[in-house]
Symmetry: C2
Subunit: 464 residues, 2 copies
């Protein structure tokens, strides 16, 4: 095999932390969605930045592909070693390196998951806010520019990473950013690395912003006769500047999924799941303002969840949306997709996607971080049913086109990976040339996560 010499050198370096076992390779070829198992040639388990650098040097010398692997929760196949080579499993680099409570910052290794981090932060009164649902690794979240339910209040991972250490294609270790809240010195490599899906470098350390645990947290739910009303309520809430901590929309199909998967017993109508954070007076004021807007928008069935147990149950249900969607099609896989549009076009985008699903005879749930204009469609598909897969592809493609037509983007948080490369030219036009120039300058041999994010040149040419 072409990568055999690289693998031999890596065995020298890592000993039994370099495996080529069938089981380990298959494990690292798995994904949450509809992509076939895509095993790498070998799996490396580095312990330190120095080792990552040494691994990259070897792979660079031998032109062997390297694909970073965190918690494998990415939804567009970002962690799959599409062209073989090494799956760089970061799970051993999962330490909290330091916490600075007085600065509301911490520095962590990339293999740490968000739940592990929040567990370690518990005693400090601080928390890490980015919450994409899955217990993703921090490095993976940064690499894929993750966000989730709390982004409407606390920002996406992009807003919450102050600094990174990264190992570049040839093994060079760089640092970008600092523990200071802001900087105006030089090109913003930190944010260039965030969302680059491991195609420009491997993140080995991240300095994160933390937030104080709110004095008071109250969750609530309400429901509407139709999605249009729910979206109107969301738009008015955002426009009024109510600092929502979470504002999630679930369409009737998603509610049906929760009823099926978790016996939620909810009326099968569109719902909003909400959370308010702040000092007690501020939370009361926010809730009163929201309730007024909600009533004007036709909300009913207002329920609050003030105890920690009730809130946890609510968000656990929400976070199981992927599995609840799957419950609507037993034995099927979920093809998840997301788009993000200006909030004024949210109702149109959702209505369009519901109509598309119906037209294409697909079972689709819709759930989203609607305060950001971001929503997900979860399609039940059978990967062996070529016709259904083709219809799902049509749905995804049409949804992306709808988002672009409405001034949005083909992904708010799932990213490009393998799944959406054919949109890159349409969304970015001539800017794509400059993205390619960066890739060429940073990784001239193309060893970092090859086949992802940037479309193959022929796709670009075909679209021009």
């Amino acid at each position: 095999m072409p990568n055999d010499t690289a693998i031999a050198a890596l065995v020298q370096l890592l000993g039994d932390r370099l495996t080529t076992s069938e089981a380990d390779r298959r494990l690292h070829g798995q994904n949450e969605t509809y992509y076939p198992n895509t095993p790498p040639d070998a799996v490396a388990y580095p312990d330190s930045t120095t080792e990552v650098s040494q691994i990259l040097k070897i792979c660079h010398d031998h032109t062997c592909p390297v694909t970073a692997y965190g918690a494998a929760s990415s939804l567009e196949g970002q962690h799959l070693a599409l062209r073989g080579g090494i799956s760089l499993d970061m799970s051993r680099m999962n330490r909290v390196l330091s916490i600075q409570p007085e600065d509301l910052t911490c520095t962590v290794q990339p293999g740490l998951t968000r739940k592990q981090l929040n567990e370690e932060l518990r005693a400090t009164g601080l928390f890490f806010s980015v919450d994409p649902g899955a217990d993703a690794s921090i490095g993976g979240m940064a690499a894929t520019r993750a966000s989730g339910t709390t982004a409407v209040r606390y920002g996406t991972i992009r807003d919450n990473v102050l600094a990174v250490e990264a190992v570049m294609a040839d093994g060079t270790v760089i640092r970008s950013g600092s523990r200071a809240r802001k900087s105006a010195t030089g090109y913003d490599l930190t944010h260039l690395m965030i969302g680059s899906e491991g195609t420009l470098g491997i993140l080995t350390e991240l300095t994160l912003k933390l937030h104080g645990q709110p004095e008071c947290i109250t969750a609530a739910t309400c429901r509407f006769e139709n999605v249009g009303q729910a979206v109107a309520c969301v738009i008015a809430t955002i426009q009024c500047g109510i600092p929502m901590a979470r504002i999630e929309l679930l369409d009737h199909m998603m509610v049906r999924g929760f009823n099926t998967y978790a016996n939620a017993g909810l009326p099968e109508e569109p719902h909003l799941f909400l959370e308010f954070h702040g000092a007690p007076g501020a939370v009361a004021e926010q809730m009163a303002s929201f309730e007024e807007i909600a009533q004007d928008s036709g909300a009913r069935g207002w329920r609050t969840a003030t105890t920690t147990e009730d809130r946890n149950a609510l968000w656990a249900m929400r976070h199981n949306a992927h599995y609840a969607s799957a419950a609507l099609g037993p034995g099927k896989h979920i093809w998840p997709t997301d788009v993000c549009v200006p909030i004024s076009h949210l109702a149109e985008a959702i209505a369009q996607s519901q109509a598309d699903a119906k037209r294409l005879n697909l079972t689709a749930t819709i759930v989203g971080h609607v305060g950001d204009g971001n929503f997900h469609a979860g399609l039940s598909v059978d990967p062996n049913d070529a016709d259904e897969m083709a219809r799902a592809h049509t749905f995804t493609h049409t949804l992306g086109e709808t988002a672009l037509r409405l001034g949005g983007t083909v992904s708010g948080e799932h990213g490009i990976g393998i799944g959406k490369q054919d949109f890159m030219t349409v969304e970015h036009g001539p800017a794509l040339t400059y993205m390619r120039a960066i890739k060429q300058a940073f990784d001239p041999k193309g060893i970092l996560n090859p086949g992802k994010l940037l479309p193959p040149e022929f796709l670009q040419e075909a679209a021009e």
Copy 2:
């Protein structure tokens, strides 16, 4: 002159919107600080993106430098045509192209100033939050990664630009980002352009986040016996998560400047200037929480400013800090510098800079956006006094080193420009190689704002 053929072609294109008059060239060579007048060879006044593209094509063909010029309020010489060539004056491209009140966004041309924009937004109930004091152009603010007094609550310009259109070195027009609140598609060129100081491309359109005008705004001031107490109060306030809209520290020298310049009649002790935004109940709650912390920190002389007039007077005074600093040394210029450190090191950084000023026999005011850990020193200097200029250089250099030693950055918001290039290698280390690679890939002829931001290669070598 080497740029004569380019200028002749530009006259063909622009007619009398290309000038080479001595007066116009000198006007575009001016700056607010201590740099000598640095006139360009010619000044171009484009009317449109198409014209900017045509200008860049001509300059690219003739390898003629192009330096963008906004409101000339940059503080590290970013707008000066250091290597001659064309000063690209964006003042005619100053329109608000569209406002989407329901999305809290607008799209503007780069020559528009922040005050012009807020004037146009007045009727919408929305405002553009970034406020660096000077009535800077939006394009210049983005190019230099500006922030200012309200960044602690609403973020810097980086957080408030959703999308840009830019003309690249060879005249190619690109777009990056969209009106959607977030995106996970492709490399983040938007944030790469922001803070690149016109060295990677010329911004020709910006889509901005807007914020709802708060229902209630209250400003306040209080004073402390020493800077340490004031900083302790700031740290506790930020740690408690009080969502301050503004929290500005002024040392006793800055207060003396306000007394001299504006007859402020303030006790010459360190002050905090504050602002609270929100619903009435939330503002009252924030103020009560702050007052409690302030009293514990030894604050006295608590005064509030609830009327619009009183607030405007307060912030007008604050925004005249540059001129108030100048008033302490009649006939002198101000050498402004800024750093940003983790907030836990703020007291140490400020104490160090005060001690340095004393040791070096310099008159220095200190004022800053301390909620971000960002502060400014304003040195009174006589550019003709070589010894004083050398001491000011030593001060700036020492302050930068202090900031780096404390885990911060050599500039929170003024940028690199001409003034801080010798820090780039120290602050960024091997990452600088990747910045150079981007510059080389985007502007291989080096026509965009040459001599800025990236240090000359020999400086890098000397530091290695």
